[in-house]
């Protein structure tokens, strides 16, 4: 705590011969408190060794110091009750803020459910996915989930370890270390204790893969190749990540594929869920069809026991469907038989003379549907014309802008309270506009590409999906960071959390308002997102850099035996 003081040169006595003099009291005190430089300290030591009076004075001053310290540190009065009560008041003062946060959260979730999820759920119900929402349909109850369950043990273990490490890091700062470790270990044990999955899996990777007609695969099959041809049977699910795929054999489970072109001729007992440029279905599908693609065609020989949900440019349904159709496409054409209803969105809908639709048909588009007079329809087609008016002319648009702004504020509140330091750093890095924009372009474009590449390698599927998820979240986080920066520019800089959150809210509202400006709003949004992603990336990058070791603090020079000093007094 104390440093030698080179400045204490009080008069000519300092360099005088000490013989025949006594040490003055100031010098003795400075000696005891290690405030003299080494040379003077040695002089005092040497003198005190031979001078009984100075030695006694040094001892007395030292005892006086000890008495002073002891007197002050002794606890002679308990903490007054007024101060004890103050602690409770301080604790309670924060409660209303959390009440506000939870209130906002509840409102946001309700608005989101009412506005988006429920209508979508209704549409899906109509399309034959009753009883399930989109998330559970696609992930937890559908083939994707089964796929995850039956993936190689190695991937499961990797995923679990990654999640475990993430949880440990996340909880480390929030819980005591023992509690955090106990939670993570208990969680991992619970996951490991789950019943093992039944199906075995087989994975193949090559330039070109052909499963011959005589070959029968027991369990799930994963294929990654440029070209795949499956003539044999697969007793399980089939996963394909290829350029071109032909499925001619019998698949007892689901077919899940990502490819440039996929053609399913053979029977599939489960679902077909594909995302491709061209999709052609010619065989029989036991359950539902979910397809994303530029061109989606269901041949006249094709049959599906369930419903079809299709998103594409050109959609042709010429085969037979047991239940409903939900389609979003540019050109939709139906000439086959549909056991349920049809709900179509797009530019045009054409219903041919051979078409047979048992349920209701609703078309939402720009032009009236072309319906052949010979077509057998359960009820007349209901047409809802989409008016090409600017969306900002409707009140509905502004209501949703308010809801979105509230959702962003809520998201920002959560992020700033969960990661205050990181948020603060990211906001500060956003001030480096050039670096942030440059890095933002790089990360904004590079991260999704890297995620897709990681997904294609299958082994990196978890990593790829995680990267993609983080990238997607950062699109929103970026706007919050720039909002916080703008708020700081307008209202002044702060390093405290709640004032920073206040600035974030003000800045975010301004940023969202700027996005509403016709024509340039979209470009502004793009710029803000790139800028924010760059700032976040800079903050992450800096965090990953090794810390520079702190310089050693200056140690007071040890007092040599003897010590000091300054002035001497004549005896």
């Amino acid at each position: 705590m104390s440093e030698p003081d080179d400045d204490v040169k009080r008069d000519g006595n300092l360099d005088a011969n000490l013989a025949g003099r006594h040490l003055d009291e100031v010098t003795c005190l400075l000696y005891l408190e290690r405030q003299l430089d080494r040379a003077r300290g040695q002089e005092v030591s040497a003198h005190a060794a031979d001078c009984a009076s100075c030695k006694t004075l040094l001892r007395a001053l030292e005892r006086e110091s000890r008495l002073l310290t002891r007197s002050m540190l002794e606890e002679d009065e308990a903490l007054p009750s007024r101060l004890a009560a103050f602690q409770e008041r301080a604790r309670k003062s924060m409660q209303w803020i959390w009440g506000l946060v939870f209130g906002l959260a509840a409102t946001g979730i309700y608005a989101l459910y009412e506005g988006y999820i429920q209508p979508l759920q209704t549409q899906l119900d109509q399309a034959g996915f009753g009883g399930s929402n989109l998330l559970s349909l696609m992930i937890f109850q559908g083939a994707f989930w089964k796929g995850w369950q039956s993936m190689l043990t190695l991937i499961e273990v990797l995923a679990m370890v990654t999640v475990g490490v993430f949880c440990a890091v996340f909880f480390r700062r929030r819980l005591r270390r023992g509690s955090a470790m106990a939670m993570v270990v208990a969680g991992l044990c619970g996951m490991i204790a789950l019943p093992p999955q039944v199906a075995a899996s087989e994975m193949r990777h090559s330039e070109s893969i052909t499963i011959s007609k005589s070959e029968k695969i027991k369990g799930d099959l994963f294929l990654t190749a440029a070209r795949c041809r499956i003539d044999g049977d697969v007793d399980g699910d089939l996963y394909v990540f290829c350029q071109s795929v032909d499925v001619n054999g019998h698949v007892t489970g689901d077919v899940i594929g990502f490819a440039q072109s996929i053609r399913v001729n053979g029977p599939v007992d489960g679902n077909v869920r594909v995302g491709c440029n061209n999709v052609t279905l010619s065989g029989t599908t036991g359950k539902n069809v979910l397809a994303f693609g530029d061109s989606i065609r269901m041949d006249s020989d094709a049959k599906a026991g369930g419903s079809a949900t299709v998103f594409g440019g050109t959609i042709s349904i010429d085969g037979t469907l047991g239940r409903d159709i939900l389609s979003y496409g540019h050109l939709v054409s139906i000439t086959g038989a549909v056991g349920g209803s049809v709900k179509a969105h797009g530019d045009t809908l054409s219903i041919g003379s051979t078409a047979k639709i048992d349920g209701a048909t609703v078309f939402e588009g720009k032009k009236p549907p072309e319906v052949a007079s010979e077509a057998k329809l359960g009820s007349p087609v209901k047409f809802i014309k989409i008016e090409p008016k600017p969306e900002y002319r409707s009140g509905h648009y502004y209501v949703w802008q308010v809801i979105w702004a509230a959702a962003f504020i809520l998201f920002g509140l959560v992020l700033f309270t969960v990661m205050p330091e990181f948020s603060r750093q990211a906001t500060n890095y956003a001030e480096r506009i050039g670096a942030s924009l440059g890095l933002g372009v790089l990360v904004g474009c590079g991260a999704p590409i890297a995620a897709v590449i990681a997904c294609v390698t299958v082994v990196g599927l978890f990593l790829g999906l995680s990267t993609f998820f983080l990238w997607y979240a950062s699109l929103y986080f970026a706007q919050i960071i720039i909002g916080a920066l703008l708020g700081q520019w307008l209202m002044g800089r702060t390093s405290e959390l709640w004032p920073l959150i206040g600035r974030m809210i003000v800045g975010l509202l301004i940023v969202r308002l700027c996005f509403l400006i016709p024509h340039i709003g979209g470009w502004l949004k793009l710029g803000v997102i790139i800028w924010g992603i760059g700032a976040i990336s800079l903050a992450i990058y800096r965090r990953m850099q090794p810390l520079v070791a702190q310089g050693m603090p200056a140690m007071p020079s040890p007092i040599p035996p003897g010590t000091t000093i300054g002035g001497m007094q004549p005896v």
Binding site: L29, S53, L79, P80, A90, R173, W498, G566
Partner: protein, 194 residues
Amino acid sequence: MSVPGISEPTEAIARARAGDAEAWGTLYHDYAPAMFRFCRRALPTREDAEDATMDIFIKLRRNLGQYDSTRSFSAWLYRVAANHCWDILRRRKVRQDKETEDVENVPLEHPDPSALDKLIEERSSEEVRKALGKMGARARMALVMRYYSDMSYDEIADQLGVRRQFVGVVLLRARHELRAALQGNVALAAGGKA
């Protein structure tokens, strides 16, 4: 410079910065008694000390973001407390003590060591605390900063607004005042021979 029995509350500080009321409560619980004692020694009355303790924690909560976590939290807290208490005393127009005015001309004395030794021998901690209450504000403040919160000469100089090389003289003058308050011995209090 740390509060006895309390290790650095790194985790609680991080959580309190994030707005965690529980962590803030923990910090208050751990440090309020030490801060109250500091204020009690530095300020003339118990009521002053209570008010000052609350004000210090309000200030602490507002400025926690400014705390550099690579430094000692206790040291930072004591600096905040010393600053606050000294502000209170200055607002009350504390008389500029003599030792800060003529500090450069302080005579270099060699007191009677045995008399000083005897005085210290005979005094208890409680007597010293009572004597502290009779001292001038600046002298008391100097002793509290040095012997309670173990602040460095640089920090004391900074707080009291004196040059660093005269902090030793200020402390010695304060000791003389304390001795005078303990005994009423003018000669000893003046630093001269008994």
